[in-house]
């Protein structure tokens, strides 16, 4: 996808949001009409005008350079999926267990093939986290619904 097209998508989205926001202020309670509703109208108008101005600039600029969101498609999406699964797992299994799965899996999918390093790095990081965050600093970490939290 070219930069110009991505620009247009983002900017049109901004225009739509600006219009919806402006219209939404009509439903605000009367006490807010002269204050926060006006603020949101100001933001909506400014965003709309700036987006239209940028659409004009982007149209004129002819920037047909392709946008590369990743350098390695497989690894990029693998990481994204791993992150999503990780967050989902955290809610069920808690932080420590999910992290114990996430760390080695991500290291592997990101291309590290030395199993010993993966095991030691994952164990080291988990130990560091457990000792520093949980034992010493007592930072609350998600415990997971499966354990009744």
């Amino acid at each position: 996808m070219t930069k110009k097209i991505v620009d247009f998508i983002i900017l049109f989205f901004c225009v739509v949001i600006a219009v919806l926001l402006y219209r939404s202020t009509a439903d605000f309670p009367s006490v807010s009409q002269n204050s926060t509703a006006n603020y949101i109208r100001f933001l909506a108008l400014s965003t709309g005008i700036l987006s239209l101005l940028q659409i004009y600039y982007s149209y004129r600029k002819n920037d047909n350079e392709a946008v590369e969101f990743y350098t390695d498609k497989k690894k990029f999406f693998a990481f994204l999926i791993l992150l999503i699964v990780y967050i989902l797992l955290i809610a069920y299994f808690g932080f420590i267990l999910s992290t114990a799965l996430f760390l080695p899996a991500t290291m592997f999918f990101m291309g590290h093939r030395k199993i010993k390093t993966i095991i030691f790095a994952s164990a080291g990081l988990l130990l560091f986290l457990q000792v520093l965050f949980v034992s010493i600093l007592q930072v609350p970490l998600p415990r997971g619904s499966i354990f009744g939290y």
Partner: protein, 502 residues
């Protein structure tokens, strides 16, 4: 209220605080020395660590990381031509050629002494200016606070000359995100889509962690190792500081501190501005880019000069000077410290202790830099396959622990993806975060001002401070607008010339 500086200094020299300075500074150098990891990321990810610490120890730790990271970025920049942080990019221009010529030791020495001087002077200015400026903020009414928020945004876009409109728009995106939640005046819910976690709005810290940490990790996925080079420690010899560096360090320090005060992407801009100033002043201008220590001196003094400068508006007005200061602001707020005059009176012991700790952090990285700098360059060779999951794990802890909410981890991920898309298309993620921070200040100021004036916009022009703020906003936007007009004219002239030729 009298401030007892002796008590503050005694408090600062308590073992846990000294330990925090040392650990913070060393961690900062490590993080700054790893390309892909930034000072913002380090400070943001450190916030959960500070939860169980006393506010002063927590802040000292974050301050140490900030100072250390600003310096640490120069080590791989000099030895590997890979800046550890974007702010060290200007340092690489002359640092690496010097290393190649066998003067890596000299480059490292100039870098650490310039960083130290820049950091010390800017911290001293922070100590001197912050309290009086905070006292001025008492005279600010709602209208002035709204204008202050606008000034914050103008500061960001004034530095994004290439894409002024995109810079402004990014700031407005942040302001728009900040309207999600409960209406300040009526208490009704806005744009929460029935999600209870959004009733208090979108927290800016998970968003910041997403856009500055996870986005960075997404970009690293395609790279096996960030740094390809190798460092041979035997070739790095200790060399004396060359003569005549003083004026370049002074220029860098002054430019860094001033740029740091302006809201925006301080350190990188400061380093390049300082570098360019030094180039103009130099008698051996032709040597710039080929291994001139003057360039390193100015650039490093510039980026470290930013530290104190960026904290001036952060501590006094709650307007962060750059994204690192924004993360630090998050840390302040977590500990219940609200920027403004009270920070220097009611919480004076903490605030002055924190400011004084910056001097210690500079001394710590000076010692480490003088004796151990080359060893830190090895850290930058960490494979990205290890770095990505490790940083992601800390990012998750950081995002969760702000409100003990898994929802915030999702916010982090969403903003990471948004940050990636915006960053690749020339929008400013710093401006988005700044907009999110300034949003509540701007809204409260705007709404209260209009309520007071019964809907009349004249209140925004009703005081001398308001006019001064309008003046600064105009000044911040003036040069970028002139540049845009110039560029448009040049572009038009080129098109016309091409048409004539055809």
């Amino acid at each position: 209220m009298e401030i007892d500086f002796i008590a503050i200094i005694l408090n600062l020299f308590r073992p846990e605080n000294l330990l925090a300075v040392v650990i913070g500074s060393i961690s900062g150098i490590v993080v700054g020395g790893i390309p892909g990891l930034t000072a913002t990321m380090a400070v943001a990810l450190l916030i959960p660590v500070t939860f169980s610490l006393s506010p002063i120890t927590g802040l000292i730790l974050m301050g140490g990381v900030y100072c250390g990271a600003m310096y640490g970025g120069s080590i791989p920049a000099i030895l590997l031509f890979t800046p550890g942080t974007p702010a060290a990019a200007a340092t690489a221009l002359d640092g690496y050629p010097l290393s190649q010529q066998g003067h890596g030791g000299l480059a490292l020495r100039v870098s650490v002494i310039a960083s130290f001087t820049g950091g010390m002077v800017s911290a001293f200015l922070l100590l001197l200016v912050a309290q009086p400026l905070a006292a001025v903020s008492l005279k600010f009414g709602p209208a002035e606070y709204f204008l202050l928020a606008l000034m914050g945004l103008a500061g960001v876009v004034s530095l994004a000359e290439e894409d002024l409109v995109k810079g402004l728009l990014s700031g407005f995106m942040g302001l728009l995100v900040a309207v999600i939640g409960t209406d300040l005046i009526s208490g009704h819910l806005r744009y929460t889509m029935g999600v209870r976690d959004l009733y208090d709005g979108v927290s800016f810290m998970p968003a910041l962690i997403g856009m500055f940490s996870v986005t960075q990790m997404m970009e690293l996925t395609g790279l096996g190792s960030i740094v390809k080079g190798k460092v041979d420690l035997k070739t790095i010899k200790r060399e004396k500081m060359p003569k005549g560096m003083g004026k370049f360090i002074a220029v860098g320090t002054a430019a860094g501190t001033v740029v740091g005060i302006l809201p925006g992407e301080g350190a990188t801009i400061a380093a390049f501005i300082s570098y360019n100033f030094a180039k103009q002043m130099s008698k051996v201008r032709h040597m710039f880019g080929k291994g001139n220590p003057e360039g390193i001196a100015a650039a490093e003094a510039g980026n470290n000069g930013c530290v104190g400068g960026s904290l001036i508006p952060t501590l006094t007005l709650g307007i962060p000077g750059n994204s690192v200061a924004a993360a630090l602001l998050g840390g302040l707020m977590i500990h219940g410290l609200i920027p403004g005059p009270e920070l220097f009176t009611l919480h004076g012991t903490i605030t002055y202790g924190f400011i004084l700790s910056l001097f210690l952090a500079n001394i710590v990285f000076l010692i480490i830099g003088l004796y151990f700098a080359p060893y830190f360059s090895k850290i930058s060779l960490t494979p990205s396959a290890i770095l990505i999951p490790a940083v992601s794990m800390f990012a998750v802890v950081g995002a969760y622990s702000m409100n003990n909410s898994v929802f915030d981890i999702w916010i982090m991920l969403i903003f990471a993806v948004i940050g990636l898309i915006l960053g690749k298309t020339g929008f400013s993620t710093s401006a988005v975060v700044l907009g999110m921070i300034l949003g509540p200040i701007a809204e409260r100021g705007f709404a209260q001002a209009l309520t007071i004036s019964d809907g009349s916009a004249s209140i925004f022009f009703g005081s001398t401070i308001a006019w001064i703020l309008w003046g600064i906003i105009a000044l911040l936007l003036f040069f970028p607008i002139i540049n845009i007009i110039k560029k448009a004219r040049t572009g038009k002239a080129i098109i016309e010339a091409e048409e004539i030729v055809e």
